[in-house]
């Protein structure tokens, strides 16, 4: 007789199968992005989100109970959430697990309710839900589940197959709901990611061969002769803390490589840079690998290694789901018992110049990332913990980080964390400039929210594929001027593309044009651009700054 319920063991396998399937298809999902911009992509973000949960699930061993499993899925994905689609995925999983966590095994009726709960939770997490996205696909699946249940469907395999088939139909319909998708000739990438994960899970259910080993992470060996309760086991058993005094400062690329390597040999809890000093806190099963790597780049000091099963980890335990995590962050963390200052700032930014500008404006912690790598909810929470202030303003400076930042604000319980939804670097700069120490948090929030709408942002990058957006035909390799979510100019000459874009941004009320040039532009070329802009738009003040950002040759702001 066919299997009619899903127990925790099967659910764990289905989840891992879904995660791995998403991982294997992430590149094709990345290519569904509307803007052909070489930056933080949906497939990567969703994969990193689900993998964060998959690592925790995988660490539970072969037979976790339902509650522990659900906690790992929900907590792991909430913390690991990156990008808007990643955040929505984590909310879907949170809703789903909330409904089933107290069950022994899941039947069709419970699954139907879980789908509804997942959809409801995800919709609630988004301020203005947009149709034609992952949300629509999730709702389509949940509506179908309800319909099947009402019609008396009593075979779980048929039920799951029907859900998947209907989900695909809804996904194919997303271009009819969202014109930008239609023009670009793609379906919604977040929805595609969801279907992909679901398909992997259902394939496993049906007995198809699906890889469920989580490869990027060393998994603790389970000693079968001595059964251990799942919750008590620890992967990445050593807690390693040390400082690296760099021989020379790392460039952006090297830094990403180092972080990537560290993440591949364990769990990187914290990585912070202060000049030529890098502080690393990580959990790993092989401290030797971590230390070897760091020795390549500098001299080590304050090296501390602790066994997390036997000793207290210096920075608190990292196990468990969201609740354990928020507990950790609710612990008061004032350094040297200093009283908290009233206000602190966190900004997400990529590039030395931009980080320097944010620091000069009073930002306490700059989270490196943004364009190539969207920081996760946990990254933002770590930064919040470092700022000893009563109210912490977070400037995500990228529309794809706003939700992860808000999720972090919800999880941080000991501080008043306010996310100013800055979608670009210039909006972030304008927000903090308009901050006034003597005003209340609410007044500051309101002031910043008002002023960020008065700054226009334009960014110059190149297209990674052919497409059509906003009625503009774009060829791979073309320069594109993107202004606040719209393609303003396209061309093969960077100066021309930039001037055309700037022209579309400047009007009679414009006072100041700021140019931040990226890491691939030299100062002399940038100076020529500044001259051209100054002569073309004579009534405005023009300033030039080295931003050092990757991917975007120029970021321009007009205020």
């Amino acid at each position: 007789m066919a299997v009619q319920t899903i127990d925790s063991q099967l659910l764990a396998k289905m989840f891992l199968a879904g995660a791995n399937t998403l991982d294997k298809n992430k590149e094709s999902i990345n290519e569904l992005n509307v803007f052909p911009v070489p930056d933080g992509d949906t497939g990567t973000n969703m994969t990193m989100t689900i993998m964060s949960a998959a690592k925790e699930v995988s660490a539970l061993g072969d037979n976790p109970d339902m509650k522990t499993l659900c906690k790992a899925i929900s907590g792991g994905s909430l913390r690991g959430a990156r990008g808007n689609s990643g955040v929505i995925l984590s909310q879907l999983l949170r809703g789903l697990t909330k409904r089933v966590r107290d069950e022994e095994s899941i039947n069709i009726e419970m699954l139907t309710e879980a789908c509804a709960k997942a959809t409801e939770t995800a919709y609630k997490a988004v301020m203005k839900p947009t149709e034609g996205t992952i949300l629509t696909v999730a709702r389509g699946i949940s509506d179908k589940a309800e319909e099947l249940k009402e019609n008396g469907c009593d075979d779980l395999e048929t039920f799951l197959d029907e859900l998947l088939a209907h989900g695909k139909v809804v996904l194919d319909g997303t271009p009819d709901l969202l014109p930008v998708l239609k023009q670009a000739g793609v379906v919604d990438s977040g929805g595609a990611g969801l279907i992909c994960a679901l398909e992997g899970a259902i394939n496993l259910f049906k007995g198809k061969e699906v890889d469920i080993t989580i490869s990027s992470e060393p998994i603790a060996k389970v000693d079968d002769s001595r059964p251990v309760k799942a919750e008590e086991k620890t992967v990445n058993v050593y807690c390693v803390n040390f400082d690296t005094h760099l021989h020379r400062e790392l460039n952006f690329k090297t830094e990403m490589d180092v972080k990537g390597y560290l993440q591949s040999v364990g769990e990187l809890v914290n990585y912070s840079v202060e000049g030529d000093l890098v502080k690393i806190h990580m959990h790993t099963d092989d401290p030797g690998l971590v230390i070897q790597k760091a020795l390549k780049y500098g001299v080590l000091s304050n090296v501390k290694v602790a066994n997390r099963n036997l000793e207290k980890c210096n920075e608190g335990s990292e196990e468990g789901g969201a609740s354990a995590f928020s507990e950790k962050h609710s612990a008061p963390a004032p350094k040297n018992n200093e009283p908290p200052k009233p206000y602190g700032f966190i900004a997400v930014s990529a590039g030395e110049g931009l980080s320097e500008i944010f620091k000069s404006l009073g930002v306490d912690v700059v989270i490196e990332g943004g364009q190539t790598m969207n920081p996760s909810t946990a990254d933002v929470l770590d930064a919040v913990e470092k700022v000893n202030a009563e109210t912490v303003f977070v400037l995500p400076n990228n529309k794809n980080i706003v939700m992860a930042a808000k999720q972090a604000a919800d999880l941080a319980s000991d501080k008043n964390v306010l996310v100013i939804p800055t979608k670009t670097i210039p909006q972030g700069i304008t927000a903090i400039i308009n901050f006034a120490e003597n005003m209340s948090p609410d007044e500051n929030e309101q002031m910043m929210m008002t002023e960020i709408l008065n700054v226009k942002t334009g960014e110059i990058t190149y297209a990674v594929r052919d497409t059509t957006i906003d009625d503009k035909e774009i060829k791979k390799g073309d320069y594109m001027g993107i202004g606040d979510g719209k393609i303003l100019s396209v061309g093969t000459d960077i100066t021309q593309t930039l001037l055309e874009m700037t022209g579309a941004m400047v009007d009679d009320s414009s006072e100041i044009i700021s140019i931040y040039y990226g890491s691939d532009v030299n100062e002399a070329d940038a100076e020529v651009i500044r001259e051209k802009i100054a002569t073309t738009f004579g009534s405005c003040d023009v300033e030039l700054q080295s931003g050092g950002q990757p991917i975007y040759y120029y970021i321009i702001s007009v205020e």
């Binding site: 500008i357 304008t430 400039i433 901050f435 002023e451």
Partner: protein, 292 residues
């Protein structure tokens, strides 16, 4: 029979010599030293000449009125009046209040020096209030008590076009000096009683204007008992050099405080030389209950 009370101030109040004659207020001109030569505001130095010299990078120093100048004016006034109140610029910004206070000891109470932390348009309003109080029969000592009681019931926000002049003059608190950044920034400063202090920053003039209007509204609501159609409060505007932008700012302030009759004055030159051209300020002072 009530005493005859005179009001004396300095040219930082923005009250010109001509206006002073009209209002019956005696105005002591503030001296300047420009490239070594001595000038007096509104006597032998016009605003235009001043800004030309300032932009040419001339070495401009401000000074206090000399004791003989102060004493001569007082003596002249007291020939006609029983008592006088002297309202100098804020003691937080200049030592002239303190020197005047010392000089006043020799007048057996006939000269009352008022230390109420006012400057420019708010100092001007204090002079008008003093005149009105005198007319109601208050004597010099009573006027001093009333005005000093109200010294914190005023607020000023100033947006500078640049930090350059403030740094040059050294008349800046450490907090304000820290505003210097890599970016082009217009500092928004505030005067609450004491010295100039940093309040906020702006990228554009429009942002700075919005910040100042929001801040002054908050002060009125939270500290001065609400706007109440302007019945409780005077709203004032001051600027340096750029009359056109001051006019458009006035329209914005007027929209925020529709029932108020807004006074707008150029900032006195001894303030201007510390903040440079292109500055805009909005101020408010609470109306005195005695004059309600």
């Amino acid at each position: 029979m009530s005493k005859k009370i005179a009001v004396v101030t300095d040219s930082n109040s923005g009250i010109t010599q001509a206006e002073g004659k009209e209002l019956g207020i005696f105005v002591l001109p503030m001296p300047f030293y420009i490239d070594g030569g001595e000038y007096f505001e509104d006597i032998n130095l016009s605003q235009d000449e001043f800004y030309t010299k300032l932009s040419e990078g001339a070495d401009i120093m401000t000074s206090q009125p000399t004791p003989p100048n102060v004493l001569n004016l007082w003596k002249e006034v007291l020939e006609e009046y029983d008592e006088l109140v002297h309202i100098p610029m804020s003691s937080g910004l200049s030592g002239s209040c303190e020197s005047a206070y010392m000089l006043s000891h020799d007048f057996e109470g006939r000269v009352q020096v008022i230390n109420n932390q006012r400057i420019s348009v708010t100092q001007r309003q204090s002079c008008l209030d003093a005149m009105a109080l005198a007319e109601k029969g208050y004597d010099a000592a009573q006027i001093k008590d009333i005005l000093e009681r109200e010294k914190y019931n005023s607020s000023i926000y100033i947006m500078l076009d640049t930090l350059h002049y403030l740094k040059k003059g050294g008349r800046i608190t450490p907090a304000a000096a820290a505003i210097g950044t890599l970016l082009k920034i217009k500092p928004v400063l505030t005067i609450q009683g004491e010295k100039l202090d940093a309040f906020s920053k702006a990228r554009t003039s429009q942002q700075g204007r919005n910040t100042m209007i929001t801040a002054i509204k908050k002060d009125i609501d939270e500290r001065f008992g609400g706007y109440n159609c302007g019945k409780n409060i005077y709203i004032e505007i001051a600027y340096t050099y750029d009359l056109e932008s001051a006019k458009s700012f006035k329209a914005e302030v007027q929209a925020a405080f529709p029932e108020s009759e807004i006074v707008m004055d150029p900032l006195s030159l001894s303030v201007s030389c510390h903040i440079g051209p292109g500055a805009l300020a909005v101020a408010c002072s609470k109306k005195l209950p005695e004059l309600a």
